[in-house]
């Protein structure tokens, strides 16, 4: 495993009286996929946004320790949305120009090279997410923070998105991803951080987490999180 590109230490975040994260420490090494999983409201997105520098921690520190880059970090929001009235190519060109990148190459990397002239409002949910990933890749940022990249997608499209995630890590990127899709997480992640009620309840490799119960990952997941929580995860059995 390579050195950490992003390191969060003792991260705490509160919103008024609500503590979304409490003393969370996590590191995202280059060339790996780190998955943040947990029930709804466990703090995954908050942690991702803090790691991405989009949200300040109330306490604790986050440091970027990766290679020098014009754009150190790429970000895919949970529900990517683009200004209507523009084509896929024009949208990619906007972001590419900001990061001095090639828009055509970005679209090719995510498989949207065949629909450059399609208006963004005419893209399917999966294609919109792929365009969001293309945007996140602009400028070749060493770190990629992807918030639920496969949420709401059909199995084929979800698999395609995680194929891209794996390829990015293979290229040396540090990828941190939130997801409820445990089978895909199990397949793609090098390390899984399980969050519950704003705290890390486990952080290990998929194999090590599986060994805790001897069954598939969702059994370990269910044993780790509070049974009273409203758990919303996709598992092998309900996919």
């Amino acid at each position: 495993m390579t050195d950490a590109y992003v390191r969060g230490t003792g991260v705490t975040r509160t919103f008024g009286d609500v503590t979304a994260l409490a003393d969370v420490s996590v590191e995202i090494p280059g060339g790996t996929v780190v998955a943040l999983i947990g029930p709804n409201g466990s703090g995954k997105t908050t942690l991702l946004r803090i790691l991405a520098g989009l949200l300040s921690p109330t306490d604790g520190e986050v440091h970027y320790e990766g290679p020098s880059a014009t754009r150190p970090l790429g970000y895919l929001p949970q529900e990517p949305s683009f200004r209507p009235g523009y084509t896929t190519a024009e949208t990619a060109a906007f972001y590419a120009r900001l990061a001095d990148d090639d828009p055509s190459e970005l679209l090719e990397r995510v498989g949207l090279g065949t629909v450059p002239d399609r208006p963004v409002e005419a893209l399917s949910g999966g294609m919109t997410r792929l365009l969001g990933i293309a945007q996140a890749l602009a400028g070749e940022p060493p770190v990629l923070a992807l918030d639920e990249p496969a949420s709401g997608l059909d199995p084929v499209m979800s698999g395609r998105v995680f194929d891209i995630v794996e390829a990015l890590a293979a290229d040396g990127h540090a990828v941190v991803v939130t997801s409820h899709d445990l089978p895909l997480v199990e397949r793609a992640a090098d390390r899984i951080v399980v969050l519950d009620r704003g705290s890390v309840v486990a952080a290990d490799t998929p194999a090590a987490l599986r060994e805790r119960t001897g069954g598939p990952l969702h059994e370990t997941f269910a044993s780790l999180v509070d049974a009273g929580d409203d758990v919303a995860v996709r598992t092998e059995t309900n996919r």
Binding site: Y75, E79, R83, L98, A99, D100, A136, P141
Partner: protein, 275 residues
Amino acid sequence: MTGRLDAFWTVFAREIRGAARNRTYALLALALGLVVFGLAGTGNGPSSGYVPTVVDVLLVVEVVVPAVAFAVGYRSITDDAVRGTLDVLATYPLPPWVYVAGVYAGRAVALLSVVLVPLSILGVVVAASAAPDTMVFATHRGVDSPLLFVRFVTLTAAFALTALAIAVAVSALADSRRRAILLALVGLLIVVVGADVTVLRAITGGLVDVDVDLGTILGLSPSSAYRGLVFETVLYVAFAERGEFVSVPVAAAGLLGWSVSALLVATLAVRGRRA
């Protein structure tokens, strides 16, 4: 590595492209044209000259131009915030002030197109229909001139840009489209009447010495500053008897100050969203 100028042009070009494809701007220009031509025609200004035409349309332009500016700018940044685009842009080498400058400049081109085209056409109509002495290119007292109308159009453009800056600031402060509408209405009221009312309250409340400060303090309200500049540099030029309505340097500085302050607020608001 991309520079700030490249980043500015990228944002600016996106705004221009969006405006060029938005037919609403053409409708706004048409509506503004109908209003100013209707007023000018009713007052018979075009057949009398440039200054009479300015007198005919000034009062309504004072209200309609800020309204158009707010229509152009009130969602300029809110839409990017609601879509999550501001979060995404925060990961790019795009400082908040460059983003705000690009958005403002792009919308400014759209706004000036909407405002200046009808007014310029009105000027051409005056030139074609007014008495022969309006073709005299001179600005000495008592003579009507196309240059006076050019001054009016220029001042109107400056007023429109000030109102747009305030609209962009309002847009940066709003966290939803509904709130953007409400804040835009508040901002429009401040520009059109609120600042004037504050000035009057300051005068009637004895906070300022009318004899000494009236011309100065009027210059601090955007609409009073605009009105005062039009009176001082367009209308009073053509009349023998005149009185100082507003301090021209203060009024000019007032419009500039409102614009710069508003864009600063917008920049701080965009930066604040990143924390």
